[in-house]
């Protein structure tokens, strides 16, 4: 009889259970809240970092292509302050039998519908090759509106999200990427790079 009473008393009382559940609930709730806010902040930072990385990589890719290009092959070759959202060029492939050899024509352009930077080799010719170098390109450069005014004060009027400014074998490349963050906020980044064509 004494043994049976002792076993029954060994369990939790209702009060103990309720308190324990409440404490556990509070702890778990806090953990979830902290985790979620951390995760949101992390996602936000990751989105920013990813967009910046994407922007840098795209600009590096464009810069590398233009560095190897022959300056004389740049089309259109209009000078500052005009800008272009499309640039054609030919790579210098080296020297064979004393003569400089050029590659097939290539083109980098902004496809506004998809917000894409598109690279095309042999555009419009048989054997045409195409690749999308990046997405999320803004229609207009950051701070610019379609109003015939230089809103962002960079010397260009109503320039597109990808803009080339060409002057004597030097190409100024401007690019703006825009993407919605996880929290619904809009992330916008702009970079500018000045590329000297290494080949005349």
């Amino acid at each position: 009889m004494r043994r049976a009473l002792r076993s029954a008393r060994a369990g939790f009382t209702l009060l103990e259970t309720l308190i324990a559940l409440t404490v556990v609930g509070l702890v778990l709730g806090n953990i979830v809240m902290v985790t979620r806010s951390t995760s949101d902040a992390y996602d936000e930072e990751m989105s920013k970092a990813s967009l910046e990385l994407q922007l840098d990589q795209t600009l590096d890719r464009i810069a590398l292509a233009l560095m190897s290009a022959s300056a004389a092959s740049l089309q259109p070759g209009a000078a500052n302050p005009a800008f272009h959202s499309t640039l054609s060029y030919a790579q210098n492939l080296g020297v064979q039998a004393g003569e400089v050899v050029h590659g097939a024509p290539e083109r980098i352009s902004l496809r506004i519908e998809g917000g894409e930077v598109v690279w095309v080799e042999r555009p419009g010719e048989p054997g045409e090759r195409m690749a999308t170098w990046t997405r999320s390109v803004r229609e207009f450069l950051e701070g610019e509106l379609q109003n015939g005014v230089d809103d962002n004060g960079n010397g260009l009027v109503d320039e597109s999200g990808l803009a080339f400014v060409i002057e004597s074998g030097v190409v100024r490349v401007l690019l703006t990427l825009e993407r919605n963050g996880r929290g619904g906020s809009s992330l916008t980044y702009t970079r500018e790079s000045v590329v000297h064509c290494r080949n005349s």
């Binding site: 778990l28 990751m46 840098d56 590096d60 560095m67 190897s68 492939l93 004393g98 290494r198 005349s200």
Partner: protein
């Protein structure tokens, strides 16, 4: 008592399990976040390292180009002993792709970044004599015409040249064209006759080229003539049968006309230009280089009529440098007949350098020219001779070796380097950072056979032929001529 203890154990275990679950969940999440962040950081660092490596490779190319400009091979360091630069390293390999065409390949390494860039350079010289004997479009030698070479060493006078080519002689002519070279019957070339890349050498009966007739791999470039800006002086007509001396400050004349029995003396040092130089039958032009050389620019018409005469009392090939920028055939004297830019019927042995890259120069039968000549089309009449003076090479004080860029591109990094992408460059190459030399001390003097003409600090001219590794480049203040061939192992 024993049972009470058992109950206490069961209750402590429940809390422990719950705590462990919570800690593990939070820990796992933290590890995941940390891993993601580390990956992102690694990508960013790799991007930065690649840019640094790219910049190092660019620095290598710039240093290599400077090395070529100063007469070196362009090679800097090597994979086993690269040049230290900042906290990274680079080395540059140089290859002679063709005569005077150098390929540089620079590999830069920094952190985990690797980059290899290629640059092709071409050495050029504005020294006319460096071209040898040139007809940039075509060379035509008449019957029994002769083109050979000698080395005056700066001494004046008509040299005694052998009748036959001496194979032991170190002096041989380089007769060049970007088109064909045609030799008439019994014509002789004592040296190489080098046609253009798509040209050929055509030999008449018993014609002879003692050296190579292989076509050039690239075309010979001719420099544009830069006519000096001098004080304008109008026309000069000298027809009174006397001697008239032009000396002192150079002028830019309109048309100079020298009439019958009249002599025009060009006394050096003198730099002058003229729109047209016309020497009529019986007229004479004398070059007096006793006190210095004469530089004469003819911009539209060189008309040396039949019966006119050249005179070079000093017989010095350095005494006259004549530049004829005239081009195109048209009626220059308004007599209804088209006139070529150069009409050369003068008698007398010519001494000096004649440069007319856009005109046809036809030397009349039996004429002789000592020095150097370059023309658009070079034609020698029967028994005419051009004797190239090798001493003129590099004698032009205004001409230096120039280096121009032909091609730049990104190339794949060497395979053996690509294996250790994650490693520190010094570890990957197994070199000690503090033992590596800076770029300027890492110029590689590979085993090249070089032939260099240079001016030392005192202004004296020297020649060196031999292994590059045995040559002290510090001696050369100014490199005037350079040939480099890969040293073959014995």
């Amino acid at each position: 008592m024993k049972r009470t203890t058992t109950v206490h154990h069961a209750r402590r275990g429940g809390v422990l399990v719950a705590t462990l679950v919570a800690v593990l969940a939070v820990g796992g999440l933290s590890v995941c976040l940390l891993e993601l962040d580390t990956t992102r950081l690694k990508r960013q660092v790799a991007g930065i390292d690649n840019k640094r490596a790219f910049n190092l490779a660019e620095a290598g190319l710039a240093e290599g180009r400077f090395a070529v400009e100063t007469g070196h091979s362009g090679a800097i360091g090597s994979e086993t002993a690269p040049a230290r630069f900042g906290d990274g390293l680079f080395w540059v390999t140089a290859t002679e792709l063709a005569p005077n065409v150098i390929g540089l390949e620079s590999t830069g390494m920094a952190g985990t970044g690797r980059a290899t860039l290629s640059l092709v350079l071409r050495r050029t010289s504005r020294d006319v004599a460096a071209l040898g004997v040139l007809g940039s479009s075509q060379v035509i030698l008449g019957a029994n015409a002769r083109v050979d070479a000698y080395d005056s060493g700066g001494a004046p006078g008509v040299p005694k040249l052998p009748e036959r080519f001496d194979p032991t002689s170190s002096v041989a002519v380089e007769l060049r064209s970007n088109g064909d070279i045609t030799l008439g019957d019994d014509a002789r070339v004592f040296g190489d006759a080098t046609p253009g890349p798509s040209g050929s050498v055509q030999l008449g009966d018993d014609a002879l080229v003692s050296g190579s007739t292989a076509p050039a791999s690239i075309e010979t470039e001719v420099a544009v003539i830069e006519t000096p800006q001098l004080a304008a002086a109008g026309d000069l007509t000298h027809t009174n049968g006397s001697r008239r001396v032009l000396a002192g400050d150079g002028k830019s004349w309109g048309t100079i006309r020298v009439g019958k029995n009249s002599t025009l003396v060009l006394r050096g040092p003198l730099q002058m230009s003229t729109h047209a130089l016309r020497v009529e039958d019986g007229g004479r032009v004398e070059v007096d280089s006793t006190s210095g050389p004469v530089e004469l620019h003819v911009t539209d018409w060189l008309d040396l009529q039949s019966g006119s005469h050249w005179s070079f009392p000093q017989e010095d090939t350095r005494g006259l440098r004549m530049f004829v920028s005239a081009t195109g055939t048209r009626d220059r004297d308004n007599n209804g007949t088209a006139d070529a830019p150069i009409h050369w019927q003068a008698t007398g042995i010519f001494f000096g350098t004649l440069y007319a890259p856009n005109a046809r120069l036809a030397l009349p039968a039996g004429s002789a020219l000592y020095g150097a000549v370059a023309a658009g089309i070079l034609q020698l009449g029967d028994k005419a001779a051009v004797h190239f003076d090798a001493a003129l090479r590099g004698s032009d004080p205004t001409s230096d070796l120039e280096v121009e860029r032909m091609a730049w591109k990104v190339v794949e990094i060497p395979r053996e380097i690509a294996r250790d992408l994650g490693e520190d460059p010094f570890t990957a190459l197994d070199v000690a950072q503090n033992e590596l030399k800076p770029p300027t001390l890492a110029y590689a003097s590979a085993d090249y056979e070089i032939e260099v003409e240079y001016v030392d600090a005192s202004g004296a001219k020297h020649k060196y032929k031999g292994r590059e590794s045995d040559f002290d480049w510090k001696l050369a203040r100014d490199v005037q001529k350079l040939r480099r061939r890969e040293q073959k192992d014995d």
